[in-house]
Symmetry: C2
Subunit: 279 residues, 2 copies
């Protein structure tokens, strides 16, 4: 029950009033905060109480905790229980699910592309998923009924659904999320404290991702190393191209590279506006 898990519960409470929501966090302080805010209908003190009667279990912890939690869930879950997660990486969670869940539990991957650089249940919101994309990941052996149920669930929380294989998901997310995160960190790490004081809105936005919690992001980079590393390589190549043009004062080439970027981004923004993902 951090920012994401709390928001799932809050949104389910609002949008699916007949659904019973039960929350659990391994930290007592989080459970206290969650009770105070009223993030879920009930906050319980251990995993087995949380999942024993659940039709859908949503794991919203750092990725490195998934495997252990999947094993815990498997002990207490009832038959036909659907388990999903909200993690930013999908290949390994699918592998862990295949290993940890017996036939009675059905795993499907979920990745609602929403959130912020903030952390903690106090930032949970019941409108976080409004018009957000949610990527569902499935493999050949994924249970079709469980998949349909989850598609319906996220849709009712406000998401637009995309379906991918875990492999495709990790490739795409490496590009649009994990590489930008690394770039933001590199920008901040190479900027002097005294110089950054003069930063305008441009620097603030470009570096925003660097404020994300290092624990969660270390997990993400550790579980999607190949795609991220490949993405960084292609960004470095493009930076070298731009650097060469700038060094040589090749006006035409600078203009061409900046113009290409502006046009591509402008097409992206237009697409996002049409989809009402941006206002």
């Amino acid at each position: 029950m951090g920012l994401l898990g709390g928001s799932v519960a809050l949104t389910a409470k609002r949008a699916l009033s007949s659904v019973k929501t039960v929350g659990y966090s391994y930290r007592a302080v989080t459970r206290r905060k969650a009770r105070k805010i009223g993030v879920a209908g009930e906050i319980v003190n251990n995993i087995s109480d949380c999942v024993a009667d659940a039709d859908i279990v949503i794991v919203a912890t750092p990725i490195s905790a998934f495997e252990g939690i999947f094993k815990e869930i498997n002990k207490s879950a009832k038959s036909k229980c659907i388990v999903t997660d909200v993690g930013s990486v999908k290949v390994l969670p699918h592998r862990w699910a295949a290993k940890c869940f017996s036939g009675k539990v059905h795993y499907v991957g979920s990745h609602p592309i929403a959130g912020s650089e903030k952390m903690g249940v106090e930032f949970a919101r019941d409108d976080l998923f409004c018009n957000a994309q949610c990527i569902l990941t499935r493999q050949e052996k994924t249970n079709a009924a469980a998949f349909r149920t989850l598609r319906k669930f996220w849709t009712e929380l406000g998401c637009r659904i995309n379906v991918m294989s875990p492999l495709e998901h990790d490739k795409v997310l490496g590009r649009i999320s994990h590489v930008p995160h690394v770039m933001a960190a590199a920008l901040v790490n190479t900027s002097d404290e005294d110089v950054m004081k003069f930063a305008g809105k441009g620097f603030i936005d470009t570096s925003r991702l660097a404020s994300g919690p290092e624990s969660i992001w270390t997990d993400i980079l550790m579980t999607n190393p190949d795609n991220t590393s490949r993405g960084i390589a292609s960004v470095i190549k493009e930076l070298e191209k731009l650097q060469k043009a700038i060094k040589e004062k090749n006006e035409n080439q600078i203009w061409k590279l900046l113009s290409k970027a502006r046009q591509k981004r402008s097409a992206l923004i237009k697409y996002k506006m049409n989809k009402k993902e941006l206002m």
Copy 2:
């Protein structure tokens, strides 16, 4: 009279009601728009009418036009006229000013760090400079009275003033503005159109600068090549460091690099909040 020039005029109209504002653009269509919006008290059809009676002239064109415009201004300006600009680079403008202005005209560099990726007088706003930083650049030979007048002018428009040499300015801005711009362009140029469709707010923010007009930004990179190129080199080095840690799944090193970035940015945000530059 684009986004920045128009905003200077609009803000002066609001905050300095006794000051007469006169605008000029070499494009007839911009002059028509500016008249319709009422960006300045008067919109005239040529530079000499615009500057002949001016105490302060603010040049807000792309940097590559400065030298020619400085020469034009010098022909028509009255004695003790103060000329400044709002460009993102300062070494070359100071050099051009020394070359183009006779003793009757006093040049001081101004760089209000405000604006957006948008372009055009229709985006001008009379609150653009509220709590924004404005860097004034001066050299030993800069006229002290002209400097004081401009400091007062920008302060009354809402800016907080910093003073630098042109050299220092271009070094700092290379870091906090020109390098992030190049990084945003590199990110977009290496991202597939189909993959970008899944982008969330993180990618949108990280890439925002890439939507800036290529004409203005080509000028900036052409006139600050050494600082920008050096900055790109250090970012590439840091990206390689992160890439190595990710490839080797060196959890401790990834965590350390991300943690450093988060802490540095968190200190920056705190500083900016205290200064009321961010809300």
